[in-house]
């Protein structure tokens, strides 16, 4: 909350000008996103208020349910190894020798060659329910007409949670006895299923968008924007959620690729399995000029 107040104060001090009349005297717009939910557009709502002639602030909330069929790479399985306890590994049929060998190898991140990563696709869809808050600042280009009209550049910060339900299938990596010691010594032994219900994954993103907002019929606004998103996912539960966080990193509007930050934290002796991802997103919002 303190951050929100500080952000608003900075935005006000930067943007206040004497000449600020909005579009036809109206400065506030409420918008719904059509791209994210044609079926349920009211679930993704954004509010925009013009602070000055060239700036506006936005605040939004989206509550979306989607079924995703993620692709996952072998590094997710690798992540599973890292985040699973010894008991869990034994449950999946690992021998003591394998656990010992993997423990000595997989904590050193360089041991895994990502170029050779295999890609698997999930046989079943996962249900993801996300609720995300956002706050942002927009800078409008036109100096003749007042915000919120014209071309703009926006910066947005999003934060929220994603609840995952469904059957997750993990390829279990194993050590090949014949090539022990080489970097490419893992192979997929078998695939195991386990069910997750309402598993919570934290997500936060930074968005940088370019767009244009039109005003039609005095009250209707059409807002089209596209840009880059950099998102982080992190799990609260350390058991298998790191693995789920890895999957969601690629399905959180970040379609260019994901970057694992999995590493051994020497201070807390735990594994940090935060994931980040980069992607491009497009929005088409239809709104109403309120006042």
């Amino acid at each position: 909350m303190r951050k929100l107040i500080l952000f608003t104060l900075i935005a006000f001090s930067v943007t206040f000008q004497a000449f600020s009349q909005g579009v036809l005297g109206k400065k506030a717009v409420v918008k719904v996103n059509l791209f994210n939910g044609f079926r349920m557009p009211l679930n993704d709502v954004q509010f925009e208020y013009a602070l000055g002639k060239k700036f506006s602030i936005t605040a939004g909330y989206s509550l979306l349910a989607s079924n995703i069929r993620p692709e996952y790479r072998f590094d997710y399985a690798y992540n599973f190894l890292q985040t699973s306890s010894q008991a869990t590994l034994k449950k999946y049929g690992y021998t003591d020798y394998e656990i010992g060998y993997l423990a000595s190898q997989y904590l050193d991140y360089r041991a895994y060659d990502y170029d050779d990563a295999e890609v698997f696709s999930f046989p079943e869809k996962l249900n993801v329910q996300s609720s995300v808050w956002s706050i942002g600042l927009r800078s409008y280009k036109s100096s003749i007409f007042s915000a919120p009209y014209g071309r703009y550049f926006s910066l947005e910060y999003l934060r929220g949670k994603q609840k995952v339900t469904g059957n997750i299938q993990i390829p279990i990596p194993c050590v090949d006895d014949f090539v022990v010691g080489s970097y490419n010594s893992y192979y997929v032994k078998s695939q195991r299923k386990f069910k997750v219900t309402d598993r919570e994954i934290n997500t936060s993103s930074f968005q940088m968008n370019f767009g244009k907002q039109w005003v039609k019929f005095d009250v209707l606004t059409i807002d089209f924007s596209w840009g880059l998103v950099y998102s982080f996912t992190s799990a609260t539960n350390k058991a298998q959620d790191g693995y789920i966080a890895s999957i969601l990193a690629r399905n959180n509007g970040a379609n260019f690729g994901s970057f694992p930050h999995t590493k051994w934290n020497t201070i807390s002796s735990t594994i940090d399995y935060r994931k980040s991802a980069l992607g491009m997103n497009i929005f088409l919002r239809v709104g109403y000029l309120l006042f």
């Binding site: 009349q21 036809l24 003749i144 005095d218």
Partner: protein, 196 residues
């Protein structure tokens, strides 16, 4: 994009006679080829926008145009058309953004040699008594392929000079929504100026 405005006197604005608000669209930047069909479509909407947004900003604007009826029509041709011509002439000798052309050396020389204050003929002061106000205005929009201009001028015939002038340039074609915003913003600004 350009904004230019000035105001000579801060006083309360009484009734203003608005002389034939004009919306003109040109196909080229030399203002030769005019699109009358497009402009005629906008004409009614433009006039109604002026009336609507002037009222919204509590300004008393009374529109006289060739489309008026009865006495208004007669007085438009008899009194207001010569006044409009005089105002346009005084604007033409100004060094304002609308008069900018690619090679404006010749024009600048003329302005330097023959520049006159933006004074209006003294005999036009007779209109003050007839219309019960010294304030007369032009609110016109010119749009071409490259640029669009709005100019909003108010003259005070008691003093024979331009009292308020606003010129806005926009790099693009003015469509319905932009036209409305142009007009609204202009009256909003005018209201703010005269209420300070």
């Amino acid at each position: 994009m350009h904004t230019d405005s000035f105001q000579n006197k801060k006083s309360e604005l009484q009734k203003v006679i608005c002389i034939n608000p004009t919306f003109r669209k040109f196909e080229d930047t030399d203002f030769d080829d005019e699109d009358y069909e497009f402009a005629s479509k906008f004409k009614q909407l433009y006039n109604s926008s002026i009336e609507k947004y002037s009222k919204k900003n509590k300004l008393n604007y009374e529109v006289y145009s060739p489309y008026s009826e009865g006495e208004k029509l007669t007085s438009y041709y008899k009194d207001l058309l010569p006044l409009k011509s005089a105002i346009l002439k005084s604007l033409n000798v100004q060094d304002n953004p609308m008069n900018e052309v690619e090679s404006n050396t010749y024009k600048k020389e003329i302005i330097q040699k023959f520049v006159v204050p933006t004074m209006l003929p003294a005999e036009l002061a007779e209109l003050v008594g007839k219309y019960d106000t010294p304030y007369f205005s032009l609110v016109d929009i010119y749009t071409s392929n490259g640029k669009s201009y709005l100019f909003h001028v108010i003259v005070d015939l008691n003093l024979g000079r331009i009292e308020y002038q606003e010129i806005k340039g926009y790099s693009g074609l003015v469509k319905k929504s932009e036209m409305k915003m142009f007009v609204y913003d202009s009256f909003y600004l005018l209201d703010k100026f005269f209420k300070k």
